[in-house]
C-alpha cells in the first residue's frame, strides 16, 4: 500500500511535467491543426536557459523558472512568425515537415553552442532538496515543488482561456478561424498568443525536468516531446482538459511500469497506448466524433 502511494506521488510529478508540455501541443493543434514537433525542443531550450540562469547568472530557482518561461515564450512566437505564418495557406503536410525542420534546427543549434555532452543541473537550495514522510510515504520537497508549480501554471492557463478576452478569441479561432476573423478578431495575434502560452509552459517544464532528473542534453526534448504528444492524443488533441488527463495518465503508466521492474519497456508501453488509442478511439478520451463535412 505504501509502495503504491509512493508510486502515485512519483507518477504525479512526472505526469504534471508531461501535462505542461502536452498543453502546448494541444493548444497549438486546436488553433491551427498543426502538430508542432518543435515543441519538445522549446522545452529543451527552457531547460538550458534555466541551467545557465542558475549557474552563470547564479539566480535562484524561481527567477530562473521565470526567465526560462519568458525566453521560451519569445522563442515560440518567433518560430510561429518566421516558420509557420508564411505557410498559413499551404497544405498541412508542408507545415508539419517545417515543424520537423525547426525541431532539428533547434536541437543542433543548441548542440553547436553548448556541445553534445550531458550536463547536470546545479544543486538546489536546501529547502528544495529535503523530503518528508506522510504515512510511510516519502515525499520529496522537489516533487511538491514540481506538482505545485505545474498546478499553479495550469490554473493560470485556465483563467486566461476561460475568463479573458484573448482566451475567448482563442476558443473562437479554434472553432472557426474565418468566422472569427470576420467578427473582428485578429487571428494572427491570437495564434501568436497561443504559441506564447504553450511555449512558456514548455519552458517551465524544461526547468522542472532539469530539477527532477538532474541532467540535460540538447536531444532531451525528443522523447518527452513525443510522449507529451501521446498524452495530448490520449486526452483528445485540441482539448485542454484532455491534455491534463493525458499527461497525468502517461506519467502514471510510465511510473508504474518502471516500478514493476520493467523500466526497459516503459517507452514501448507508452507508444503502445498511442497505437491502441488510434485504433479504438482516434479522437481521444474526451474527443467528440466529428462527422466529416461532405
Amino acid at each position: 500500500m505504501g509502495e503504491f502511494a509512493q508510486q502515485v506521488i512519483n507518477g504525479l510529478s512526472l505526469g504534471s511535467i508531461y501535462a505542461l508540455i502536452a498543453l502546448g501541443y494541444t493548444m497549438v493543434y486546436g488553433i491551427i491543426q498543426l502538430i508542432n514537433f518543435a515543441h519538445g525542443d522549446v522545452y529543451m531550450v527552457g531547460a538550458y536557459v534555466g541551467y545557465f540562469s542558475m549557474t552563470t547568472l547564479r539566480l535562484g530557482f524561481f527567477e530562473s523558472l521565470l526567465i526560462a518561461m519568458v525566453i521560451c515564450m519569445v522563442l515560440g512566437v518567433v518560430i510561429e512568425r518566421v516558420a509557420y505564418k508564411p505557410l498559413r495557406n499551404s497544405t498541412r503536410i508542408a507545415v508539419l515537415i517545417t515543424a520537423i525542420g525547426v525541431s532539428l534546427l533547434l536541437e543542433y543549434t543548441m548542440m553547436f553552442f553548448v556541445g553534445a555532452a550531458v550536463r547536470s543541473y546545479p544543486p538546489l537550495p536546501d529547502y528544495l532538496t529535503g523530503s518528508f514522510q506522510v504515512g510511510g510515504v516519502t515525499v520529496g520537497n522537489q516533487q511538491v515543488l514540481i506538482i505545485g508549480v505545474s498546478l499553479l501554471l495550469m490554473a493560470i492557463l485556465q483563467l486566461i482561456v476561460r475568463r479573458t478576452r484573448v482566451g475567448r478569441a482563442m476558443r473562437a479561432v479554434s472553432q472557426d478561424a474565418d468566422a472569427a476573423r470576420l467578427m473582428g478578431i485578429n487571428v494572427d495575434n491570437t495564434i501568436s498568443f497561443t504559441f506564447a502560452l504553450g511555449s512558456a509552459l514548455a519552458g517551465a517544464a524544461g526547468v522542472l525536468v532539469g530539477v527532477y532528473y538532474n541532467s540535460i542534453n540538447p536531444l532531451m526534448g525528443i522523447l518527452p516531446g513525443l510522449k507529451a504528444f501521446v498524452a495530448a492524443v490520449f486526452g483528445g488533441i485540441g482539448l485542454i482538459p484532455g491534455a491534463l488527463i493525458g499527461g497525468f495518465f502517461i506519467g502514471g503508466v510510465e511510473t508504474f511500469v518502471s516500478a514493476a521492474g520493467q523500466s526497459l519497456y516503459k517507452d514501448a508501453v507508452v507508444f503502445g497506448i498511442l497505437i491502441a488509442i488510434l485504433i479504438i478511439k482516434p479522437t481521444g478520451l474526451l474527443g467528440r466524433n466529428v462527422k466529416e463535412k461532405v
Partner: protein
C-alpha cells in the same frame, strides 16, 4: 447621425452623395478573378446611410463573392471599395477582415457559422470584445476596470440576445439551438460587432413563411433601432420585395439591373435571367 453636412473626402463620395443621405459604401467597378474565371466583374453599387438594399440573382451569380470582397475574405482583383465612417472615406478593398469589421461592416453567413461549442452568450461576447478596452493584466487580476468592462459586455450581450428572443437560451451551447434560433444568433453576433453596415447573407434560408414574415419585421426594426444600413442577399422574393428600397440584380457576376423592386420586377433582363416563368407571381 446628427453630423452637419458631411464633408466627403473621396471623389466617389462627392459624386454619389445626394439628398437621401451620404454614401456609406461605394463599390466601383470591382472585379474578382479566380484563376481564369471572373466570379464578379465590373460590379458597381452604392449604399447610402440608412438604406436597405437587396442583392439578388440566380445561384452562382456571385452574390456571396460580393459579400466576401466587402468583408475582406479576399481582395478585389480590380476596382475600389470605399467605405465611409465618421466622415472618413477609406478604400477597404483588400484590408484585413478584422479591420474591416472594426471599421463598421458586420455580416452573417449563408451556411450558419457560429462558434458551435461555445455558449450562446459567449458567441456574442466574443464579437463584442473588439470594442472593449482592457488588458490581460486587468483580466487576470480582476481589476475594477476589468469588472466594469466585463459587466458591461455581459449587459450589452444580454440586451442583444433579448432583442433576438434568445435571452432565455444564453447559457445553452450554440450547437443545441434550433435552426431558426441559430440564424437569430448569427444576427445578434453580427450586431455585437457594432456595424454601421450590416450584410445579411440569406437570412431567411430554410425558414417557413411564418418565420420569414417574423424575420422581415425584425430586420426592419433592427434597422431603426441600431441606425443600420443593410445589404441583404435573399432568395425569398416576398421578403425582398417587402422590405428592400432598392435592388441590385447579379447574373454571371455582372450587375444586370438595379432600381426599386417594382422597376426590377419589370426589367426584361431580370425576367429572363432570374425570375423566369415565376415573373407573374
Amino acid at each position: 447621425m446628427a453630423h452637419p453636412a458631411p464633408q466627403a473626402s473621396g471623389p466617389a463620395a462627392s459624386e454619389q452623395a445626394d439628398r437621401a443621405g451620404e454614401t456609406l459604401l461605394s463599390v466601383d467597378k470591382v472585379t474578382r478573378n479566380f484563376g481564369g474565371l471572373s466570379a464578379v466583374s465590373n460590379v458597381s453599387l452604392q449604399i447610402r446611410r440608412g438604406e436597405l438594399v437587396g442583392l439578388i440573382g440566380p445561384n452562382g451569380a456571385g452574390k456571396t463573392t460580393v459579400f466576401n470582397l466587402l468583408t475582406g475574405v479576399y481582395p478585389p482583383s480590380h476596382g475600389a471599395i470605399e467605405f465611409t465612417r465618421d466622415d472618413r472615406t477609406r478604400d477597404i478593398g483588400g484590408m484585413a477582415p478584422h479591420r474591416i469589421c472594426a471599421a463598421g461592416i458586420g455580416r452573417t453567413f449563408q451556411n450558419i457559422r457560429l462558434f458551435k461549442d461555445l455558449s450562446v452568450l459567449d458567441n456574442v461576447k466574443i464579437a463584442m470584445q473588439a470594442n472593449v478596452p482592457y488588458g490581460l493584466f486587468a483580466a487576470m487580476f480582476h481589476t475594477p476596470k476589468f469588472h466594469k468592462a466585463e459587466v458591461e459586455i455581459v449587459d450589452r450581450s444580454m440586451e442583444l440576445l433579448g432583442i433576438m428572443n434568445l435571452a432565455d437560451k444564453a447559457g445553452a451551447q450554440a450547437r443545441n439551438l434550433s435552426y431558426g434560433d441559430q440564424r437569430h444568433l448569427e444576427i445578434a453576433r453580427a450586431l455585437a460587432t457594432e456595424p454601421t453596415l450590416l450584410l445579411l447573407d440569406e437570412p431567411a434560408a430554410g425558414m417557413n413563411p411564418a418565420e420569414t414574415s417574423q424575420l422581415t419585421d425584425l430586420i426592419t426594426s433592427l434597422r431603426e433601432r441600431f441606425k443600420l444600413s443593410i445589404l441583404l442577399i435573399e432568395h425569398d422574393m416576398s421578403l425582398v420585395m417587402r422590405i428592400c428600397e432598392r435592388l441590385y440584380v447579379l447574373d454571371h457576376g455582372v450587375v444586370i439591373a438595379s432600381g426599386s423592386p417594382d422597376e426590377v420586377r419589370r426589367h426584361p433582363k431580370v425576367i429572363e435571367a432570374y425570375l423566369g416563368e415565376e415573373a407573374d407571381v
